[in-house]
């Protein structure tokens, strides 16, 4: 299998790390890549050939810095960059109560051990298993108990067009009890770049902690992007994710969220706007309510045209003793022409008897009466349609707690 490449990585001589890699390898070799019969991938399955033999690049980062020129954000942020899958700059001025270090450093120091590879079972996530085989690039971010990180942490991933790379990145993000932080992941690339981005974030939200997670993806037309956000939330904690998916050949954002203790909650909202032929965008969630009074909300809205395909798979699991849990889910999509495709699969598994759950899905076209009303005021049809699409997606943007970040993404969306 060409995705498994015989290369030397840093730390093969560290038994802890080589053990993790070995364990991941066993899982990956056993399960292989998803195929058309893999239920979790049935709408977004792709062939290994589609990746066109990406290579793992184990050379040090080579970049003159042009990948992050002109990165003016309209808000203050702590900035971290990945270039071609490699962590780029390491002179972060982490504020008091915050640790930011490379995965390698964290493995060397040992403080990542209670988190790394602890939040999911690799047998369930084939690309996360592959990610584990090449554990090397990544970040360890720890926000200490009671620390409020005022500035968001902005992580930018940029890919060049020079080589077809397989970029495996593992970030471990820990918000200890009563900590509060905002993470932004921004994925971008040179227009003609070809690469496979395989990212796994392991996120640990402590008691009464709050983590907001914004993902803004606007990449290359030929890129593949597979991401797993594996999240655990403890008592009274809250994890809120927002995905904005623009250009990318294939993307899959999977949220695996376990609400471990009483009162833990999660929100997963998202928007996608697909207009490239054969573009696929998959947002899959699996939210597991494992304790009483846990709650979750999901609102995903998308727009697709020109043979693009949008996929939403939303699973809500409510364990037998998760009484008075609340889980709500809604996916709505607009198909702007006859060639677009939307696949939606809501799944509710409810084992407790005193819960509130809902799910809904709809798809349709723009409202012709609304278009005519705008035309009758002088607004051309194309402009009217664009205004209506933006308005349709606005409902999701409006839910974001940090409107500075939300507006910044919306302006580029």
């Amino acid at each position: 299998m060409s995705l498994l490449q015989n290369i030397n990585l840093w730390g093969d001589d560290i038994p802890y790390l080589s053990g993790l890699r070995e364990k991941s390898l066993i899982s990956f070799e056993k399960n292989g890549l998803p195929n058309p019969k893999t239920e979790a991938w049935r709408y977004s399955y792709f062939r290994e050939e589609d990746l066109q033999n990406p290579q793992i690049d184990n050379e040090p980062v080579k970049c003159d810095g042009h990948c992050h020129n002109g990165d003016e954000l309209p808000f203050d942020a702590l900035q971290i960059k990945y270039c071609n899958g490699k962590l780029h700059i390491n002179d972060w001025n982490a504020p008091k109560g915050v640790t930011i270090k490379s995965l390698i450093e964290a493995i060397y120091d040992g403080d990542i051990k209670s988190y790394l590879n602890k939040s999911f079972n690799a047998d369930d996530f084939p690309f996360a298993a592959l990610n584990g085989v090449y554990l090397e690039q990544g970040l360890f971010i720890l926000i200490e108990r009671g620390t409020v990180l005022e500035e968001p942490l902005y992580i930018k991933y940029h890919n060049h067009a020079d080589k077809n790379r397989l970029c495996n990145i593992r970030n471990v993000i820990v918000a200890e009890n009563r900590a509060k932080a905002t993470i932004i992941e921004h994925f971008c690339a040179e227009e003609r770049a070809l690469y496979t981005q395989n990212t796994v974030n392991e996120i640990f939200v402590g008691s009464n902690a709050k983590l907001q997670h914004y993902v803004w993806q606007n990449e290359a037309k030929n890129a593949h992007h597979i991401a797993l956000n594996s999240v655990q939330v403890k008592e009274g904690g809250n994890y809120a994710a927002f995905y904005a998916n623009g250009v990318c050949g294939f993307s899959r954002h999977e949220s695996y969220i376990r609400l471990l203790q009483e009162g833990a909650g999660a929100e997963v909202n998202g928007v996608y706007k697909l207009s490239e032929a054969n573009q696929v965008c998959d947002i899959s969630t699996n939210i597991r309510h494992l304790a009483p009074h846990t709650y979750s909300n999901q609102l995903v809205k998308g727009v697709a045209k020109t043979k693009a395909k949008g996929v939403f798979q939303g699973q809500i699991h409510i364990a037998p003793d998760a009484q008075q849990a609340e889980g709500h889910q809604l996916h709505r999509a607009l198909l702007l022409d006859d060639n677009a495709e939307i696949d939606c699969k809501p799944e509710l598994e409810v084992f407790a008897d005193d819960v509130k759950c809902s799910h809904g899905a709809s798809s349709g076209d723009l409202d012709r009466e609304q278009i005519f009303y705008m035309q009758a005021r002088g607004i051309g049809e194309d402009e009217a349609r664009n205004i209506l699409v933006d308005a349709y997606l606005n409902e999701v943007f409006a839910l974001n707690e940090n409107q500075d970040i939300s507006e910044w993404i919306k302006a580029q969306f």
């Binding site: 009758a376 005021r377 051309g380 049809e381 205004i387």
Partner: protein
């Protein structure tokens, strides 16, 4: 060059893909400065006329001509017709969730300015314009911030239509059942707004099935519309006769 603002010549029209004709040979001439009222029973297809004039795609013209401001109206798209100076105040203005009234108005004004080759208004210029007009037409700034027509009362919707009339300054306004859903105070506000806008250079076509609005906006001509065409034209006295005696005398057996 004729001095007509709008000329409708022997118009035949119906719903697209439906063979049934709704408008059957309607002719009407409107000069600048005139107020015309078209009255007819419910279901006679009065709204069809307003949609055919504004170019709604559900309707199809099968025969006849419409000349507006010297241009062949039927060759223009709905948005071009609006930018040429045709305005339709709708009976049921459409709610557009997610688009605030302010944003909608800015798009509309700038789209028409662009069509006319004028520079678009920036945020400050727009605000100045809108604030003045909103005050005049009793539209609160809170209303401007709300999503357009979403949860608006009947009166609020119609006031907003009139605000748009005043901002867009069309040469011909069609008021389609502008009085429906209005109490007497709201009706007066709407009529006052229309009268403020109206002058000798612009014209009005009022489509209604009763007299109420015409008591506030006096028409120069009243046309009785039935079975797809105008069966009788006259002055305000005709409208008063209709109110007293009904349409019976004018409907064909």
């Amino acid at each position: 060059m004729s001095d007509f603002l709008l000329q409708i010549k022997n118009l035949h029209a119906g719903i697209t893909d439906d063979k049934k004709e709704i408008i059957k040979g309607l002719s009407l001439d409107i000069k600048a400065g005139e107020v015309h009222a078209i009255m007819g029973p419910n279901g006679a297809g009065k709204s069809t006329l307003s949609y055919v004039l504004t170019g709604k795609s559900d309707y199809e013209v099968t025969a006849g001509d419409i000349i507006f401001n010297g241009k062949n109206l039927l060759e223009l798209s709905p948005s071009e017709r609006a930018s040429e100076g045709l305005f339709l105040s709708m009976q049921y203005p459409v709610a557009i969730p997610g688009v605030t009234t302010n944003v909608f108005l800015k798009h509309a004004i700038n789209a028409q300015r662009k069509y006319k080759g004028l520079p678009e208004l920036d945020a400050a210029e727009f605000l100045k314009l809108i604030r003045g007009a909103a005050k005049e037409f009793d539209v609160s700034s809170e209303m401007l911030k709300r999503e357009i027509n979403v949860g608006f009362s009947g009166g609020e919707k119609k006031r907003l239509e009139i605000l748009q009339l005043s901002l867009l300054q069309p040469s011909l306004a069609i008021l389609d059942e502008a009085d429906s859903g209005l109490d007497i105070d709201a009706l007066r506000t709407v009529a006052e707004g229309v009268n403020k806008w109206h002058n000798q250079n612009n014209s009005l076509l009022i489509i209604t099935h009763h007299l109420d609005l015409l008591n506030y906006i006096r028409p120069d001509f009243v046309h009785i519309y039935a079975d797809g065409h105008i069966v009788k034209s006259g002055s305000m006295e005709l409208a008063e006769d209709l109110e007293a005696n009904g349409y019976r005398n004018y409907l064909e057996e």
